[in-house]
Symmetry: C2
Subunit: 191 residues, 2 copies
Amino acid sequence: MSQRLPATARREQILAVALNVFADAGFHGASMNDIAVAAGVTKPVLYQHFDSKRDLYKALLDDVGNRLLEQTAKATAEATDGKSTTELGFRAYFRWVAEDHAGFRLLFGGGTSTDDEFASAVAAITAQAAAATVPLIDVDRPESSRRTLAHALVGMAEGASRRLVELGDDFDPDEIAEEVSTLAWAGLRAL
Amino acid sequence: MSQRLPATARREQILAVALNVFADAGFHGASMNDIAVAAGVTKPVLYQHFDSKRDLYKALLDDVGNRLLEQTAKATAEATDGKSTTELGFRAYFRWVAEDHAGFRLLFGGGTSTDDEFASAVAAITAQAAAATVPLIDVDRPESSRRTLAHALVGMAEGASRRLVELGDDFDPDEIAEEVSTLAWAGLRAL
DNA sequence: CGGAGCGGTTACCATCCGGTAACAGTGTCT
DNA sequence: AGACACTGTTACCGGATGGTAACCGCTCCG
């Protein structure tokens, strides 16, 4: 079937394939055999590159999460004031979603199961996103309140994205970002 | 062990126990045996009341989802204008979360897996919540845009709640609702 | 008393699936 | 050519778990 591949190339191919399979079926719904078949190899090959199913899944979670955080961090680095930070942050988020539907579904589609390790990996990602949002919120409030509001803002992006991804159609991330950030920024100024 | 119970009482006890077990461990993480033990009975008893594990889980999903939608619908029915609708809606939502952590985690905690049937049940609930939110959004926008923004608003409540539930501490739902609805309403007016 | 109805239990099956040992094909360097 | 390294396969094991058949025993009624 598939060509023989050097180890590093095979590893990346497996990661790419597994991302889609896991995104479709979830951690438990996808078997290692499913992934192997989708990659055009057999099960033991997977175990040459990853210690366990969990290990593979975790690697994906980390990869995808880091891509999200890096892209938003990079985008907001150029911002000067709160308003542009908000706009650039949302734009980066929605661009990421638009170009990596599978990644979004992996992280936020519900397949993460209630496994402690996976759940906290995802929680760590949203927590980091929220942490980046905290400074936008009126400093006159208690820290815990600001954090909760930050999670609410991150939830806006997640909620909107979930619908867009479920619809399946492509969408213009910049357009969505503009609307959502308008909504968010006006809210922030009102606090 | 546990008393002998009449059928209806046993059924409700099982639902109550299963809600907590599923909320903790997720659909796949919780075995029927786990639930039976937690209920103080043995496995076949579960099958006297529910056709299958899926059936039991689905019943919970529907119960919990309906409770959420009913409570918010009832609360917003008394509202006169957009602002009070927003406030009352968020208040009802956060009150529901505060008094049913397990229910929130069942629906939105990630345990729903990527199972099609379950996922669409949850999607239907958030879609209904969003549908109730759509009228609050500036009618000058295209329908799809309004729906996406509605999902963003629902996502605010979900995002904030997820953090609060993860913290584990009790919280004052009315206080949170006031902050979040301030944020949301100001945003809505700005559109 | 005795039997019918019902709530509950023991013991079991079948299947799926993560994980592994042993082996086989292919290219490369001497 | 032949030895070695590396990629990939076949065939299998063992544990977990959804689901079921058969049986037990209480309680209430005639």
